[in-house]
């Protein structure tokens, strides 16, 4: 009963004219920022942060929150239509989203990712609403050993994420981990591969790597596709967004699995939507009956990651609001917006600031409904974006990528990184090396290393820590099972091929 009262009060706060306005503003801005490749949520929130000095804390957070989850809604648009991810969390959506668009099913893909986003977000908000303190307590069970095991499992599960040669995929994972080594070592402060540059002390920029490998490389590739603008108007009409019955049938379970994985990773500080999206894609591909459909426009390949990253966006608020621990730089900004008003988030926030807590949560519903309503008619407009000649569209995309990269660090070095990774990405495309495993290695590698090192300090050098701790041990066991299963299936596959070859 108390919950209902709280929800009622929260809804009252969320539905006040000011808050609805700022929620709409945030959601709209988030969508735009998401659609534009390169300009990410951190940039948008940093720029609008000074505005929160004058807004009340609840309103400020409602607006910043709107930008935060709005970005993830918009982020899939460019992935699907241009093969350039709007944000790193949408990179994996390129794999099947872009083939769908090439098959004239871009409208369907956009419509369905909006549905997946809404579904994922709803699951996340429900968890946030009902179980925040419980989940926050659970997140504390994850120490460094558990993080390492989890990241290792992710790497093992997702190593075959992309199409084509497994060896090339693994090579890219390894290269990604190598790029992740750049920067200052957290336990000894020695600078690694920085070549004396202070700007590289914090490592290579994720935005620069993702936008270079996916964005810039795609732009360079397009130069060679002369007739790229020849898109028939029929495929971009609003009628073309209607999914088939088969699409619907195939989407349910990936969406549910994606949302649950996203919710899980969202609650763990330091992980978040990118990892959630990658791993849920990997899971879909692994359990699919016909994994060969992936990478060629399988709808499961866009539904799972888009549900996952949106769910993770919502559950990321759990550690932030109920422990006072921000899981990412963006969440730290949101905490900052509370701090300037003298509110220190922590376990008592729910009871000491009920209007803020419940108002914010109910605003998530308002915001997600706004986004759902906003995004469906926008599909027609986004798809028309493809009618812009590439010689105008792509230079603009490059410009936005540079602005986006620059504004994360305010350092020109980050822009150079974009071009470096653009060149790397182009070379990779030419030689048929996939980009997704590179990004995966880059995201997981440094996390793995950091937690491995710390777990070893905490266990005083005993490797047994990864197997003795119950949660970590369980994850390790699952990882082992995945490995064995992987070897077994490939063995069976080669056996079958042998038989097949003999028949022929």
């Amino acid at each position: 009963m108390e919950l209902l009262n709280n929800l009622g009060m929260g809804l009252g706060v969320a539905l006040s004219a000011t808050n609805v306005f700022y929620c709409f503003l945030g959601a709209l801005l988030g969508t735009l920022v998401g659609v534009i490749p390169g300009i990410g949520v951190l940039t948008a929130i940093s720029m609008l942060f000074p505005l929160t000095f004058t807004l009340g804390p609840t309103t400020a957070l409602i607006m910043l929150g709107g930008i935060w989850y709005g970005t993830t809604y918009g982020g899939s648009t460019a992935s699907i239509l241009l093969n350039i991810p709007g944000t790193p969390a949408n990179a994996v959506t390129c794999l099947d989203g872009y083939p769908m668009a090439q098959q004239g099913r871009g409208g369907v893909a956009l419509f369905m990712t909006t549905v997946a986003s809404f579904f994922g977000a709803s699951v996340g908000v429900i968890l946030l609403m009902l179980f925040s303190p419980v989940i926050a307590g659970y997140a504390l069970k994850f120490g460094s050993a558990e993080y390492f095991s989890l990241m290792l499992m992710g790497l093992v599960a997702a190593s075959t994420i992309s199409e084509g040669s497994a060896v090339k995929g693994l090579a890219m994972v390894a290269l990604g981990i190598c790029f992740g080594l750049v920067g200052m070592d957290t336990q000894s402060a020695s600078a690694r591969f920085t070549f004396g540059s202070l700007g590289l002390l914090d490592g290579i920029s994720l935005i620069a790597l993702a936008m270079g490998v996916f964005g810039v490389a795609e732009v360079i590739m397009s130069i060679r596709r002369v007739n790229a603008t020849a898109i028939d108007r029929e495929s971009v009409s609003l009628r073309a967004i209607k999914p088939t019955r088969d699409d619907m049938r195939r989407s349910w379970f990936p969406m549910i699995r994606g949302a649950s994985m996203g919710s899980f990773f969202g609650t763990l500080p330091g992980t978040g939507p990118s990892i959630a999206a990658f791993l849920s894609y990997a899971v879909e591909k692994r359990i699919a009956k016909e994994p060969e459909r992936f990478g060629k426009g399988a709808i499961e390949g866009i539904m799972a990651p888009e549900a996952a990253n949106n769910a993770a966006d919502q559950t990321a608020f759990i550690p932030t609001l109920s422990l006072g621990v921000p899981g990412s730089a963006t969440m730290a900004l949101m905490l900052g917006a509370l701090m300037i008003h003298g509110i220190a988030p922590g376990p008592t926030l729910i009871t000491s600031q009920p209007e803020l807590f419940w108002g914010l949560i109910m605003s998530f519903w308002v915001g997600n409904v706004i986004l759902l309503i906003l995004n469906i008619p926008l599909i027609g407009i986004w798809v028309r974006m493809l009618l812009i000649p590439y010689h105008i569209l792509f230079p603009a995309v490059l410009l936005f990528i540079c602005i986006g990269a620059y504004s994360t660090t305010f350092n020109a070095l980050t822009v150079w990184q974009v071009f470096f990774f653009g060149a790397v990405g182009y070379a990779m495309r030419i030689f048929g090396f996939p980009g997704a495993p590179l990004l995966l290695g880059f995201v997981l590698g440094p996390l793995m290393e950091e937690h491995f090192r710390r777990a070893m300090v905490l266990s005083r050098g005993s490797f047994a820590t990864f197997f003795e701790r119950p949660v970590s041990g369980t994850i390790m066991a699952i990882t082992g099972a995945i490995l064995i299963w992987g070897v077994w299936t490939s063995y069976k596959l080669s056996k079958r091929r042998e038989v097949y070859a003999q028949d022929v």
């Binding site: 504390l140 900004l333 922590g346 008592t348 005083r460």
Partner: protein, 319 residues
């Protein structure tokens, strides 16, 4: 419309005259406060409030520019290499004094390439432990920690929390293993989950967990108690008078800037931060305001850097 413009121009001219009548001709254009951290931290918020107040006072735009990275060293290096006309001012923290002890190959010399304008505020640090341990006082902790296999957490190598912790361990004669986390949030999780046993942090970040009974505050690492936690004794009160660390907020300019200009900015900022209006806006972020003269700050900074360097060598932090 035209008259208004003329009036404004006249007013601007009058302001300009008033300024040139003063001892120094500063500022002559836009002043940039460089914050070597991302937006939304204490330093950033402090700088933004200060910029607004100084802009009103000086009649020239004062803008905040964030140059995060390298534990504040990226932004610091940037200002050290800027034109020494004091139109680019570094607004940083005590990391200015601590970080050089661990970062090698800095492209500037923190002792000679820059000079302090002043220290204008500080954040007090407290030593915290998980409440489940039942440890309520620093004496109890030291007793339990002697010869045990406990861990001390920091928010990263070379941060103020790191040096504060090392100073405490050194003075208390403890040799706990020091574990570095990536930022204060991760370190806080480590204490809450009992992965690490003791951590030093600001009152603002730990306050709510203390209120909720999840953490115990053992001591304030300063010579004054903090208003938010009136019952928590200072380190001096419980026998560690030298375990004092303040995350201060200070301004620096390249050393080419003339002493007159530095003194001018010092007195201007001192006046702004002591005003009631400013106290009101920074009160929510738990920043204590302090004012000081340029010679005092210069001496204090030299002393601090000397101490930290010594500690870094003693504790094997620097290489």
């Amino acid at each position: 419309m035209r008259t208004i413009k003329r009036l404004l121009a006249g007013a601007a001219l009058a302001l300009g005259l008033a300024q040139s009548a003063a001892a120094v001709d500063f500022p002559t254009g836009t002043v940039t406060l460089v914050v070597p951290y991302s937006p939304s931290g204490n330093t950033d918020i402090f700088a933004r409030h200060l910029a607004t107040a100084l802009q009103e006072r000086w009649g020239h735009p004062v803008v905040v520019e964030n140059k995060p990275g390298g534990g504040s060293m990226v932004g610091t290096a940037y200002v050290s290499q800027s034109k020494p006309d004091a139109h680019t001012i570094l607004m940083t923290t005590s990391a200015y004094a601590t970080a050089p002890a661990v970062y090698k190959d800095l492209p500037f010399n923190p002792e000679t390439d820059m000079k302090p304008v002043g220290i204008f505020g500080y954040i007090a640090y407290i030593l915290i432990v998980n409440a489940d341990t039942g440890i309520k006082t620093l004496e109890e902790f030291v007793e339990k920690a002697k010869g045990s296999d406990m861990f001390a957490a920091t928010a990263g190598l070379g941060t103020t929390t790191h040096f504060g912790m090392e100073k405490f361990l050194s003075d208390a004669g403890l040799d706990l293993e020091v574990v570095h986390y990536k930022g204060g949030g991760d370190a806080m999780v480590a204490i809450l989950s009992k992965e690490a046993d003791i951590y030093d942090t600001s009152v603002a970040t730990a306050g709510d967990q203390i209120k909720a009974g999840a953490l115990n505050a053992l001591a304030v690492m300063d010579d004054k108690r903090v208003t938010a936690l009136p019952d928590v004794p200072t380190t001096a009160e419980v026998g560690y008078p030298d375990v004092q660390i303040r995350q201060w907020l200070g301004m620096f300019v390249p050393s080419g800037v003339s002493d007159e200009v530095v003194t001018f900015i010092n007195s201007e900022v001192n006046e702004v931060v002591s005003s009631q209006a400013f106290l009101d806006v920074v009160a929510p972020i738990d920043i204590n305001i302090e004012t000081s003269s340029v010679p005092d700050v210069t001496a204090r900074l030299a002393r601090e850097m000397e101490n930290w360097k010594k500690l870094a060598v003693e504790r094997g932090i620097s290489k």
